[in-house]
């Protein structure tokens, strides 16, 4: 039962736990994914603004050179002023600038800052920035990063720059002619900005490309150019600002695009889905750990709850089983209110059963007693009727002395019969009662038979059921010697044998066949035919009611030889206590008496 309760609880709780764990993980992972995406978006927006600010500042420099220096001065006469103005602007922004230069219509260098020797033949008009400026004169143009191929500063180095070029109007000796203003921005400024964005080593990266997808900055630019890896930059350049899901070379990833105003450059953030998984690894372990610990806790709680539920039921069950096995344990009362109530109910029902059993036993005893009394009461009226009839005859025949004797004997007989209402008397009284009875009968039968009492004295003080000899003697008279004219003999003997008392009534009458003798104690109809209706059966029943089935009468008879009826009763010393015990008539009382008898026997 406990296993069932615990298994059920465990299955339910583990299922719930799994559901909660899965829901928790999904919720957290979605939140973490959203957070990663949002933080990348914020970073891109912030960096985009910084980049825009940087590019705006470059445009301002270009504007300042053009409007404050070039337009305000004539290159023919104010070369020094122009150089000074350009120098001031260069020095103020030298951290971000590589050079400022003004070229004439045919690519000739007009002015430059810092002052450096121009390369032998840089072929300016063929360079991309120059052509862009000339082709779209109204705009400023940002190039993609390239090696500056203009000046030789003697450092034996090459610089990566992004060129901002525009067509400008140059005044030379009052003549206005077109030229190109070039502001070369140091690529390292943008590179530094982008490097800062790419410090996180979690798989997320950011790159910058122009509107056609040409890469300006990429953390793996060298690898891409060598084909070690690749980038979906051309597609990304076509995206509008926003967040996109894409699959590139079999890898799912989130792409965040932010357009840099004026240049049309795209700042692109790439978050591979592995990054989300990488970020979720700790969360996954946390959720698993949480589920395991909660599982352990639930296991303990389930155990405690199932034990608390099942333990009182099991203990109640055990006490009921013990009761059924014949023990008399206290019925377990404990646990929850319902189980306590159940315990109380069972205990109460058992108590009631016991009470009922006692009542039944008591009723049975009462019934036995009343049966005994009824049997006993059948003797007296019959005998009294016969005796009083004999006394009447005596008085009518004026045999007064005999009548007096009869009456005295009758009185003695009744005194013993009454015995203060006791059923158990001592053998001495029983013998006296028998003697009185026989004296009366002898008178009635005019001494046609003789009576001999041969009883050992030692049996006098043992218990017996009263009035058991009298019906036997009556039978001996009626069936044994009644038909005899003279010479009838009845012998009453008594002895103690093997812990029992044997009282026998032996006559020398006509006797009967053995089969008939066997029926005397069972066939009550036969007795009724010849006697008063109160026969040996009554005596036998009374003995057995009080002493048990193993005691009672035995009848031995032989035709023309006589009959011997023996009474066998336990040798229970006659005391007030034993009398009371025996008179209760219960089987338990018999057991007690038997034990006592055995004890006495052993003592002897």
């Amino acid at each position: 039962m406990q296993s069932t309760v615990m298994t059920t609880f465990s299955i339910v709780s583990i299922s719930l736990l799994l559901l909660i764990g899965a829901a928790m993980y999904l919720r957290f992972s979605a939140a973490a994914r959203e957070e990663i995406t949002q933080s990348a978006l914020k970073l891109i927006e912030q960096s985009g603004e910084n980049l825009e600010d940087y590019l705006v500042s470059m445009r301002r420099i270009s504007d300042a050179v053009y409007y404050n220096v070039i337009k305000e001065n004539d290159f023919a006469g104010q070369n020094k002023d122009i150089q000074r103005g350009m120098n001031l602007l260069y020095e103020a922004n030298r951290d971000n600038l590589r050079s400022i230069a003004v070229y004439g219509r045919y690519g000739s260098l007009v002015a430059a800052e810092p002052i450096a020797s121009q390369k032998e033949d840089p072929n300016v008009t063929q360079q991309e920035w120059y052509q862009q400026a000339v082709n779209e004169m109204e705009n400023m143009h940002f190039s993609t990063p390239h090696v500056q191929n203009l000046f030789d500063d003697g450092s034996l180095r090459y610089y990566w720059v992004i060129s901002l070029s525009r067509v400008v109007e140059i005044t030379n000796n009052g003549d206005s002619q077109s030229g190109v203003l070039l502001v070369d921005m140091d690529y390292s400024s943008i590179s530094r900005m982008m490097n800062k964005m790419n410090v996180m080593n979690n798989g997320t990266y950011y790159y910058l490309c122009d509107s056609s997808g040409k890469i300006i900055y990429h953390p793996r630019q060298a690898q891409i150019s060598r084909g070690i890896c690749s980038e979906n930059n051309t597609t990304a350049a076509g995206y509008k600002d926003g967040i996109y899901d894409e699959v590139f070379e079999g890898n799912r990833r989130k792409v965040i695009v932010n357009t840099i105003s004026y240049t049309g450059w795209k700042l692109v953030g790439v978050i591979p889905y592995e990054t989300f998984n990488h970020g979720m690894e700790n969360m996954r372990y946390f959720v698993i750990m949480f589920m395991l610990l909660t599982g352990m806790m639930l296991g303990c709680i389930n155990r405690v709850v199932s034990v608390r539920i099942s333990s009182p039921i099991l203990r109640l069950n055990e006490s009921v089983r013990a009761y059924e096995a014949g023990e008399k344990p206290q019925i377990y009362i404990g646990g929850s209110e319902e189980i306590r109530h159940l315990g109380y109910s069972i205990q109460k029902s058992y108590e009631q059963i016991e009470l009922l059993m006692k009542n039944i036993v008591m009723e049975q005893n009462e019934r036995r007693k009343s049966e005994l009394d009824a049997l006993q009461s059948q003797i007296n009226p019959h005998f009294l009727y016969n005796t009083l009839e004999s006394i009447t005859w005596m008085i009518e025949g004026e045999r007064n002395d005999e009548a007096v004797f009869m009456i005295s004997q009758l009185a003695k007989l009744f005194r013993i019969s009454l015995s203060k209402g006791h059923t158990i008397i001592c053998i001495r009284d029983e013998l006296q009662h028998a003697e009185c009875y026989m004296n009366i009968q002898k008178v009635r039968y005019r001494n046609t038979f003789s009576i001999v009492f041969d009883v050992e004295e030692q049996v006098y003080d043992y218990c017996t059921v009263k009035l058991i000899l009298q019906p036997i003697l009556e039978n001996a008279i009626n069936y044994g010697i009644a038909g005899m004219d003279d010479g009838g003999e009845i012998k009453v003997t008594g002895k103690k044998k093997d812990g029992n008392i044997i009282l026998s009534v032996e006559d020398n009458g006509m006797g009967m066949p053995a089969e008939e003798a066997g029926l005397i104690l069972t066939d009550s109809n036969r007795v009724h035919k010849h006697g008063s209706g109160v026969g040996l059966i009554n005596v036998n029943s009374r003995i057995q009611i009080l002493f048990g089935k193993e005691y009672g009468l035995t009848v031995v008879s032989e035709p023309d030889e006589g009959t011997c009826v023996s009474i066998c009763i336990p040798a229970v010393p006659y005391t007030e206590e034993n009398r009371k015990i025996l008179e209760t008539g219960s089987p338990f009382a018999r057991d007690d008496i038997n034990m006592k008898v055995q004890e006495i026997h052993h003592e002897k």
Binding site: Q2, S10, W160, A222, R226, N282, M289, L292, C300
Partner: protein, 317 residues
Amino acid sequence: MKNSKKAFILFEAGLAILAAAVGIIMLWGRNDRKLDRIAVIVQASDDSQWAAFQYGLKKAAIDEELELYIVKTSSVVSMKEEKELIEREIANSADAVVIQPVFEEETESVLKKIESKIPVVLVESSASADRESSLLPVIQADNYAMGAAAAAELIGDYEGSLEGKTLAVVSQDSTSQAFLDRQKGLLDTLTDTGVIILQTEPQMLEEGSVRAEIIVALDNAGLIAAGKCSASNELHGALVYGIAKSTEAVYYLDIGAVECLIIPDEFAMGYQSIVEISKCLDNPFYQMQSSMIPYTVMRRDDLFLEENQEILFMTSQ
């Protein structure tokens, strides 16, 4: 009852074991995983000629999540010194070594012994006299092919008319296997051209004691010296060809002091060497492979082409 108790104890014990395992994994993950440390030993490690190579090393180290340590070395390192450096790096818990071998007789056997302890990858040249049968993995440019390419450019420029011309071969380290291979490639290609070959050193060029119509520099130092002399018109009109890998060399090409420059892809060499080591560290049964990196023949006119600008980008790092 007993079975129920046993099942409960087993259930709790099972969960406890799992929880402990997950806890250990969590703690393991929380502790920063120690990166494998790769020591790189090349001659004159601070020299600008290694810029692209070191850039490649660094990029690969980031990609492969390895810790890189470039050992500071002087310009000349002997095999004995190199061995001491390697042992010192191993003592400093280096997990692998990338090394430019000093060509001596016992170099290969010494490095082979070291390879039994930690993975070793050679760069620039093999340690074996026979360039085809190196016992150790080598990431290098095809030195023989580069020498041959220089000769081919030269023959092309002179339209095969080299008969009687004097050609000086310049190299700082004429003992290295790389030099020997390049020279072999050069000489093999120039066979039957009638050109007269001289062997010289950068110092002799600077001293102006070399009289030749063509200078072929077979290493970076040689080319810079030749370029410098050419720029200052100390070569008496000699044309300079060569193999080099620094911005200085490119500069001399840019200003016309060098006619033709052959540049090996040093970035690829650095990157590839780390990738091979990473594979070996990830899988101890992996057999590291030798590979040849590409090279580019550059002329002044195509120096600023987009593809060549990338080479400049690498060498400028």
